[in-house]
Subunit: 458 residues, 2 copies
């Protein structure tokens, strides 16, 4: 094999059993990794050589970033070669006038965040996998996360891209221009392509100035209509950073698992964690006024504003520790979205289905209301066998996805399609769209070399 | 013809000579309009029928919005049928929770702006052609304008699109979701497609809350390096709405043509018009502080802050009346962009070329520094014949575009490619990119029915 790939050094090719297992899978654990080899290119040109070689030799490739995906998008289970970009991890000089920074695709999200923070700048795309995920992977999946309400998705921070297409051409897309009206903007086609059209090797990333001090509010809310009213109120009058919702079930699990005392005296079916920027006295007054309106209009039954950064951190634990506090019950997870205005009706419709047809399930909701993004975790009943549980959950998925289709929502808000959602792609995208997707795939990857079987069967 | 298109009413088809002339051209005036007929569909389904009929009958189509384009993108000069969307001008109900509004493609930009303003909301994409341009046309060209620095381009405000592709499929793209990770985001491919891939018939448009009071500053600046320093300063410490540059030549032409007294006592080679939001007292102090720093560090030789909305309006006339004040000399215009950080060096390089090789030309620069977008107008010398002038300008374009290529800039920042820039597309996009563009064209418009000869020769 080293002979075949003689443009790489021996240390850039691994067939070590441990490596095959590590680099052959992502955070999805339903698939058995089975790659043929792992390749570690160091330059865009080496990636190009690999892709050209793969086309000549009909060798399928799987691109590999930080492998933190949750839909099997980076799994190599069918004798593919994995192209890991982890050796392409250079952070180049930043340009303070353009407010962009040139990075290689294998730079870890947190490394870029810290690099910019040291220079008093902010890269605002942020999520739990920040310590492992690669910038290239973020772009390939258009990663979102916890600050989308304020800062948008990865798509909004990509100023230019270097891509090696499936047939081995190097494209340098958009050249970091703000205004450029010269034909189809392929940059946006490669953002979110999940490694099926090309391999993103380099990017210029936009950054911003850091935000001001933050204030957190924890609110106990009687119903979903109130949630939406509170959202509108804060969005209009404050600089909203986060607007997170979770149910009393989630709150109770966190309290139980962490031992933290519940921060509010009054119980309610829904809790909101609202985070706003308070840079000026006027902003502080507006925040207080919004809080008072919520109380006066009975939109909340109880609430508290953080008095310190420490207290805010505790509020946030009730949101951030949800996943961990549910782990004991091996939850079955979905990550879906609908239009913001459809959130209440959609949640009620799904809730009714679970209550009627799956009354043995404990279902935990939480999510980013401001993006219409809802996480649904079904807890495994103690006495149910794992296989039966998964089977039953997958059955319930059909009802969930049917309802999503009815509400014109997305079966995958952030996690992509990969392997695990591809059978359900047609619940969000029309038949015609999927046909066009397959045709676009063939334009950029005519040999069908890249990430086979992901997103759809080409 | 009425028989052939029997799914349309007679009043939806015109072959009237005046109509053929009107609907066969845009604001570009280099081309002779010569369409076969003008069609006025009223629904997406009628557009679909027209496209299917056109494919069967090998009839080329040109989509027509407000026809305010400046690159001939909406010109019908070769016996095409024009599909005017002006009868599709319904503004549907807005959704205050989603902050989106559903419109048909033929809605005029200003009509949407006013509709939202009446409800205390803002559609922030704004430019001189607002009274005629259609939302559909804005999307098809990814229109920018005077507020890009603060609010971005049209692309940033499109929540969903309804498109009839070149082979007659109706696609409903993205369904107004904020987070949707389910495959290629075709919405972004149709934004900026200049009518070559599909006909945009409906859209959901995002809107925002209006901004606060504005403050304008007019600054006289000694050199380009100071311009960039002033830009960085204001961007960091204020909420910047506009950062417009123009040269003394432009200032003098406006003063002469309008009779307005010059607002600054000291002359300088460059003037800046800076517009910032001043919502709070703290913001006002920051603005003042920036102004003081500019004076102390000799970044400006003179400057004035508007004391009233009326005075700000006068400042703005020195920027907005440039085009009109140059009209006497039938200027030859280019609209280009480079990375912000490249603006000074690029301007110096171009200036040197004009001064050396085209010393008979008076060249007027103005532009949006914050976007790297520069407008270059060459004034016709009084004693030069029009044909000679155009010929000489086109010759100078080659030097301009060569320099743009060297600086990795764009030969068309906002105006698109259309007919008039297509021979120069390769100065900004690589050969490989153009080959892929042609392939993408064939995916969505295999019959090559839509907007023939625009952007490239398919």
């Amino acid at each position: 094999m080293e002979k075949l790939l003689n443009f790489l050094n021996p240390d850039q090719i691994s067939t070590n059993t441990e490596d095959l297992k590590t680099y052959g899978q992502d955070w999805t654990r339903y698939y058995q990794p089975n790659p043929k080899a792992i390749l570690f290119p160091k330059t865009t040109e080496e990636v190009q050589k690999i892709v050209k070689w793969a086309n000549l030799n009909k060798q399928k490739l799987v691109v590999s970033g930080g492998r933190t995906g949750l839909s099997g998008g980076a799994v190599a289970k069918d004798n593919e070669m994995v192209v890991s970009l982890e050796k392409m991890n250079q952070i180049h000089a930043l340009n303070e006038l353009d407010m962009t920074i040139h990075v290689e695709a294998g730079v870890i999200t947190e490394a870029l965040q810290q690099h910019l923070q040291e220079k008093a700048y902010l890269f605002p795309v942020d999520f739990a996998a920040r310590g492992s995920s690669h910038i290239g992977g973020n772009i390939s999946t258009n990663a979102g996360g916890i600050k989308v309400l304020r800062y948008g998705l990865t798509r909004d921070w990509v100023s230019s891209l270097t891509v090696v297409t499936g047939d081995g051409e190097i494209l340098k897309l958009n050249q970091s221009l703000v205004k450029n009206a010269t034909g189809y903007d392929f940059r946006h086609l490669f953002i979110g392509n999940e490694g099926t059209l090309g391999i993103i090797t380099e990017a210029e990333i936009r950054f911003t100035h850091p935000h001001g001090d933050l204030q957190s509010l924890l609110l106990a809310v009687p119903d979903l209509d109130s949630v939406m009213k509170i959202f509108s109120l804060f969005r209009k009058h404050t600089s909203l950073m986060a607007f997170e919702m979770f149910t009393d079930i989630a709150m109770n699990h966190v309290a139980k698992s962490t031992g933290l005392p519940k921060p509010l005296a009054t119980d309610a079916p829904i809790y909101l964690l609202v985070e706003v920027e308070k840079t000026t006295e006027a902003a502080e007054e507006d925040i207080l006024k919004c809080f008072e309106v919520c109380m006066e209009q009975n939109l909340v039954v109880d609430g508290v504003m953080s008095q310190s950064a420490e207290q805010a951190k505790i509020f946030w634990r009730f949101r951030e520790d949800i996943t961990e506090s549910l782990a004991f019950a091996t939850p079955y997870k979905n990550d879906v979205s609908v239009k913001i205005s459809n959130v209440p009706e959609f949640m009620q419709a799904i809730d009714a289905i679970y209550k009627k047809e799956y009354s043995e399930f404990e279902v935990v909701w939480f999510g980013h209301i401001g993006d219409g993004n809802l996480h649904i975790s079904i807890l495994k009943p103690k006495d149910m066998l794992m296989d039966d549980f998964i089977k039953k959950c997958r059955q319930s998925d059909l009802a969930l996805f049917d309802t999503i289709k009815k509400f014109k929502g997305s079966i995958s808000a952030e996690h992509g399609v990969g392997l695990s959602k591809k059978s359900f792609l047609n619940f969000t995208r029309s038949e015609e769209e999927i046909i066009y997707m397959k045709k676009i795939k063939k334009v950029f990857d005519p040999g069908l070399i890249l990430n086979p079987g992901k997103m759809f069967d080409a």
